[in-house]
Symmetry: C2
Subunit: 197 residues, 2 copies
């Protein structure tokens, strides 16, 4: 097991309905030392890829992306989930369905901060059905930017999001892929990853 | 002018209605090197204060708090703006009015991540009327934790939030305090701060 899988097994809580709670270190209380390790690992996995911008989505992706960006020396842009009166009209927009909140959101990024010169790494905390990710990919396409890769902390391997993204040919690096979990025992099975790659 | 005031004067955009847009470096696209400087400066201003937890609020406070926390070696907890089905029932709750979005939100923090042993530094991007900040202070009081200080990036000095907080005796450190700004000329007047303190 790698460092993130170990942490998930130790501090993650499996609940009925395939819910994995990692709010003690990832998406409510945040362990910044862990985020640094994650950034270092993504840097290793995307070695040799030119990246000049990191894109994430509010809220729980932001902390991970900001800390990880220190390894890429690139600014972070976060996609916002609803229109604010403080944002200019000139924006990329995508529709995103939220599994967690059972609703549809518009996701927006200002056209000022994403364009054809950008080589983008997407970073987010979770990948399940992939709706948020598809919204970000749509925005990158609208901008004419290049999507160089996708770094995910925890992928729910038993949902279709990751498979779809890999089928589409994107370079997706999930640090931990949960293939199954059992709410009764708390046991989590991770997909084996080639540690040397 | 300090580093943040210089950046605001250079890249901030003053709009009618006392709106200051800093979305190119602070709250949409995020300059992580700037955030590190901010963290270093807060560390200097809160030197000698014991802090074991940082509290912020989604969304735009998260990135700043996470990067700044590296100087305090403390985990970050972010207050969430609405109830998620992925959060346990055991939470601190405060009502917060949003000036930007013209609505009321419930702000919640899990009781697991804030308690009487915590010495808390609040970090956020903006302080205007202070509603978000008051919500966080209420949550810290509910938790029986100690509020050791408040680090704000940009305070709108012509609104009442900062004055109220100082009157209440809290240790508030705003890195830039805007006393007035002019949408016609783009000129921003900062309150002078004792650089040596």
């Amino acid at each position: 097991m790698n460092f993130l899988e170990e942490r998930i097994q130790r501090d993650g809580i499996v609940k009925e309905g395939n819910v994995l709670k990692v709010d003690s270190f990832l998406n409510h209380q945040m362990d910044i030392k862990l985020f640094k390790q994650m950034g270092e690992e993504w840097k290793r996995r995307f070695e040799g890829t030119y990246i000049n911008k990191i894109l994430t989505i509010e809220a729980s992706g932001i902390g991970i992306a900001c800390v990880a960006s220190e390894y890429f020396d690139a600014p972070v842009v976060f996609a916002k989930k609803s229109q604010s009166i403080n944002i200019d009209g000139d924006m990329y927009v995508a529709e995103v369905e939220s599994f967690t909140h059972k609703c549809k959101n518009q996701v927006i990024v200002s056209k000022k901060f994403l364009g054809p010169d950008d080589h983008v790494l997407i970073i987010d905390d979770f990948l399940a059905n992939g709706c948020a990710l598809q919204g970000m990919i749509s925005i990158i396409a609208q901008a004419g930017a290049v999507l160089e890769g996708i770094g995910i902390a925890i992928e729910k391997g038993f949902q279709s999001g990751g498979r779809t993204i890999r089928n589409l040919g994107y370079h997706l690096e999930s640090l931990a892929i949960v293939d199954s979990m059992d709410a009764a025992t708390g046991k989590i099975n991770f997909r084996s990853q080639d540690e040397s790659k």
